[in-house]
Amino acid sequence: MSFLLELGIKVILMLAVVLTAALVTIYAELKAGSHMQTRIGPYYAGGKWGWAQPLADGAKFIQKEDLAPAKADRTVFGFAPYVVMMSTLAVFAVIPMGPDIVATNLDLGVYFILAISSLSVLGVLMAGWSSANKYSLIGGLRAAAQLIAYELPLVLAVVAVVVQAGTMSMNGIVEAQQATLFTIGGVEVALPYILSGQIIGFTIFMIAAVAELSRIPFDMPIAESELTMGYLTEYSGIRFTMFFLGEYASLVALSAIATTLYLGGYAVPFLPESMENFAGPGIFLIKVSFLVFLIIWIRWTWPRLREDQLQSMAWRWLIPLALFNIALISVFKVVL
């Protein structure tokens, strides 16, 4: 198969999976939220269970006027959603859904993900600044401070995984989790990292991921009761939709990264390796949807933190804990 044809198939498949996953996540959020809070939620669109609600919303938004305040910096205002979407989609280029089902297996996989996903901070800051709105400005600044504060625990938690796996390639990390850990009665047992030493790292990663997504309990940047909609206040119509879609795509992306790093990715214990290309995507998506549901569950259950509590949680607790976790894992790596 020629390189370009293969590339085209990969890109289209990955786009289809990502966009579908984002839409399904939006629907899951509406439904799960309404069940958890005893509200009605969507039930009309599409005939049954309101399954077409995200599509109907999209069709509505696309017909709306694309407004920008007269005083806004239009170039930056228009370009902000591009930055967010570009950095989100690039993450999916290195996420493996099977030994061979991956767009590209970079040697620096995890490192690339951390670098490219932190670019979305720029998009948020651009949106906040260019709107020429006080809510947007405060929201954008809050978002920037929050995203960089929680970037650190996220990165440091990943370092511990790299220590244990000895590689930064996403496929390599999944394969490292299939290495035999111990043998019981002749049966070789391999466990995903969450069960073999990374439970602290996983907890830090998930807390930081929720904060990176600016979701409750860390949603101060778009706190509705304080800032209307934060940096998104002036966005309407299709540009707002793009931010919205990007947000849910990155929710899926972070769950997919956590799945790969901690839950064993496309592999499950005792599944023969020859089956992995076949069953891998299904296993992977089941694990991802579990984590997505966890994050949705957190959102509908918890109240919002205060801004100073947020900062002190990152700097005083999560970062020292993450450094301790690195030390712990590396000592185990050398001693065992």
Binding site: V11, D66, A70, A90, A103, W129, I138, R316
Partner: protein
């Protein structure tokens, strides 16, 4: 080998461009369908229905800049830690594991001292 390397990053570049095309296509489609009638109250910044006083780019207290400085230090540290993290297994296999471990512990300890200093100085406190 080098070809493979550029090929890998070419795929990444294609994904990034696809993100831009996706947004561009959606915005273009919306431009064809959506009405466009600027002017009037729509052009004013939304501040909960109250007429905005002064512009949106007033001087504001950027409390967070000190966090940005701290972030920079720790992020550079992370760049240094990653190669070490990936190679620790190799160092262990040639019998230099404890050496590599102690080296990194000194590095991390210095950084923790820095963080402790920042906390004691009250940098992370909200006035």
């Amino acid at each position: 080998m080098l070809n493979q390397y550029y090929g890998d990053y070419f795929i990444v570049a294609v994904f990034i461009v696809m993100g831009a095309i996706l947004v561009g296509a959606a915005v273009g489609m919306s431009k064809m369908i959506a009405p466009h009638a600027p002017g009037g109250l729509k052009d004013i910044a939304y501040e909960s229905g109250i007429e905005p006083i002064a512009g949106g780019w007033n001087q504001s207290h950027i409390r967070y800049y000190i966090f940005a400085l701290l972030f920079l230090i720790f992020d550079v540290e992370a760049v240094f830690i990653f190669p070490w993290a990936a190679q620790l297994g190799y160092f262990d296999s040639i019998g230099r594991g404890v050496f590599a471990l102690v080296e990194m512990f000194i590095f991390i300890a210095i950084l923790l001292l820095g963080l402790l200093f920042a906390i004691r100085k009250g940098v992370l406190k909200w006035e």
